[in-house]
Amino acid sequence: MTHTPRKTARRAVIGGLLATAMVVVAGCSSGSAGAPEGGGVGTAKKPVTVRMIANEAFANQWQDLMVPEFNKKYPNIKVQIDGVPYAELLAKSMLDQTGAKPTYDVIIADDPWIPQLAQTGSLLDLKKDAKQWTEDDYDWDDFYAAPLAAGEWDGVQYGVPVRSNLLLMFTNKTLYKDAGVPVPTDKLTWDEFFEQAPKLVRDTNGDGKADVWATDTYFTRDSLTPTVWQTVLNSDGGQLLDKDNKPAFDNAEGVKALQTQIDMIEFAPPGASTHGFNESLEAFRQGKVASLFMWGSVFKGTAVDPKTTTLTPDQVGIQVMPVGDKMAGAHRGIWSAAVSSKSANPEAAWALTQWLSSKEGEVWQANELGVFPARKSTLASTPHAGSEWLAPVFTALAEGFQAAGDGEMWRPRLAESDAVQQILATETARATSGEVTAKEALKNAAAQIEKLLG
């Protein structure tokens, strides 16, 4: 017995095994998406159940407060909402929707995820497939263009905005006044911001060490960290990717934008280079920093709720981000609700998403839950008694939606959006921690993104 035939035989066996495995793996996940059987909106005798997958952060709030309100109008649609931690929500949704019989009828997707989900072919075209179940007074044109576009991909409307959000600037007016610095308005420029920053780092108790600082935001390795410098880039008139989806940030404008975020660390509390969502938020709530670049949705817990914050509504300002070379900045972050095309009850699923994004639903959500709306009519309305704190927020949102729309201030609209964000997060963190310069970080990121998008 020589070696060669045995080797060949072994190779053949291994090859055969792999090939078989390929077939097995491929064969295990076949499924056909047949035409959905509409179960209507249920009857008292035969109620229908709609299951929703959502961010754990608001799943319970919706289940306990929103669903009973919805059931006043549709008593025969039972709604079960499952929460998943934010960071795992997209992957869980993808895993579920790619099955032949998905568990969930309604998917709540963050701003950059719609293309990825739509690409799997598992979402309903709301303007076409759901048209038959859409109420006549459901006004598509009432939405601001920017939030509505978050649910659109490739010319098809797959989602509607159900919880809107924007990256905005929060200010602690007391700290500005104490430092003798004028309280910012929406006209504040980045140059003015950095001019004022050194004056806002102060020692208030006279022990010779600074104990309040000028600013705080995301600096750590997080997929939302790059959105800060991306907003600066957008307000200077730049874009992350050009029309052909080639990186367009590896240039002087990009370096200037990223450097803006790096320069903030100097005027931020000690340890800020590791700060992300929670840490920067806490620093602001404790009255330690004069400004914060943060998602608007934290306003209630930051300015209103005495259990979570040391600040009061009259102390906290909220406005668009500072003005760059072209315009003010805001970065879009919209939660859209999409309906699964494989759902057994698409009509009931759409009834729920339709109600959530309707004029009536938006007004109720904004006033009762403090959830941000996306409709012009809602943002122009007067908040109900007890929700007066919403008034300045509505103003900032209206202005922010306009800016975000004009400057295309959102994450890339691609199926690969999250992967792009992952690359940007890593390279941004290397730059904020001083591991590499802004220029090197952007060069690395551009090379990786170019390779990824091929």
């Binding site: 295990c28 996940s29 997958i53 961010n55 754990e56 952060a57 608001f58 319970n60 306990d64 079960q80 499952d82 929460g83 998943v84 931690p85 934010y86 960071a87 795992e88 869980k92 895993l95 099955g99 568990t103 104990d211 969502f277 929670n278 938020l281 806490e282 620093a283 709530r285 404790q286 330690k288 998602w295 949705s297 934290v298 209630k300 817990g301 005495p306 259990k307 979570t308 914050t309 040391t310």
Partner: protein
């Protein structure tokens, strides 16, 4: 207590005292962060991140009362108990038998099999979790206790097997010989003689298994949605709160609550962690 006359006996007693106190001090050092967690659980969110840290504050039990109603903690706690104990018991039985085979029984190819089983632990868990979900979904088992128990067995069995092999190797060989002479079958000898003698090892492996399954997050996250979700998933959800920021009071409260059952369990099974099992067995 008789009066000690011989100096080295006093020396030994002093040594004994030193040993006890050193052990207590090490334990306290290790428990400091835990103490901090318990303290945090009684604070309102705005009191948690103060500068300097608040040591004296008005405790509130709000974090416990409000959160327990909010996140379905009792149901998730029950799921955690079912899954952790189910997986641990299966793993201890299967793992102890396999460990014994590797330590004591001559089988052609067993050593290779043991190494393979151990090496399977080198696969990053996320690479296993996704295909496991696909299989579970095709079998209609997604979001069930059984699928989580099996997934946990996949990493507990190799650990238990290898740890207990270490304990079995150290046992005197005469044990089985005596048993064989008494006409016990292999299995009989194992369960009647070897297991009772190795109880300290088996009990500590059991505690270890329960803890590992108790705090496992990744498989629970991927394989369950709602019905069989465990506490660590709930915790990850609070920590990842993107609306109001992580509620550290609630996190610390849930953290504190989840520690209690395991500590009680450990106290309960301590009584089998006693010296002297291995003695007398060979003297008989």
């Amino acid at each position: 207590m008789s009066i000690a006359v011989r100096s080295h006996r006093t020396q030994r007693r002093v040594g004994h005292q030193v040993r006890i106190w050193a052990g207590v001090i090490v334990c306290l050092l290790f428990l400091f962060p835990v103490l901090w967690m318990v303290m945090t659980s009684f604070k309102l969110p705005k009191d948690i991140f103060t500068v300097p840290p608040t040591i004296f504050f008005t405790p509130t039990i709000e974090t416990y009362t409000s959160y327990l109603q909010y996140a379905d903690v009792p149901q998730r706690m029950l799921n955690t108990v079912i899954v952790a104990f189910g997986a641990s018991i299966v793993s201890i039985v299967a793992g102890a038998m396999a460990g014994y085979a590797l330590a004591r029984i001559r089988i052609k190819g067993a050593a290779t099999l043991g190494v393979l089983i151990l090496a399977s632990r080198g696969v990053p868990p996320i690479a296993l979790a996704v295909p496991m979900f696909l299989v579970a979904r095709n079998l209609g088992l997604a979001d069930t206790h059984i699928v989580l128990i099996l997934a946990y067995c996949s990493f507990l069995i190799p650990y238990v097997m290898w740890l207990l092999r270490g304990f079995f190797v150290a046992l005197p060989k005469e044990l089985e010989e005596a048993a064989q002479l008494d006409g016990c079958s292999r299995m009989g000898a194992f369960f009647r003689i070897i297991v009772p003698i190795s109880l300290p090892g088996i009990v500590s492996a059991l505690i270890f298994s329960v803890i590992l399954a108790w705090e496992e997050l990744l498989f629970a996250l991927v394989l369950t949605n709602n019905f069989a979700t465990t506490i660590p998933v709930a915790v990850a959800g609070i920590a990842g709160d993107t609306v109001n920021g992580a509620n550290w009071g609630a996190l610390a409260a849930v953290g504190t609550l989840t520690v209690i059952p395991v500590v009680l369990f450990a106290l309960l099974v301590q009584k089998w962690l006693i010296r002297g099992m291995a003695e007398g067995a060979t003297k008989g």
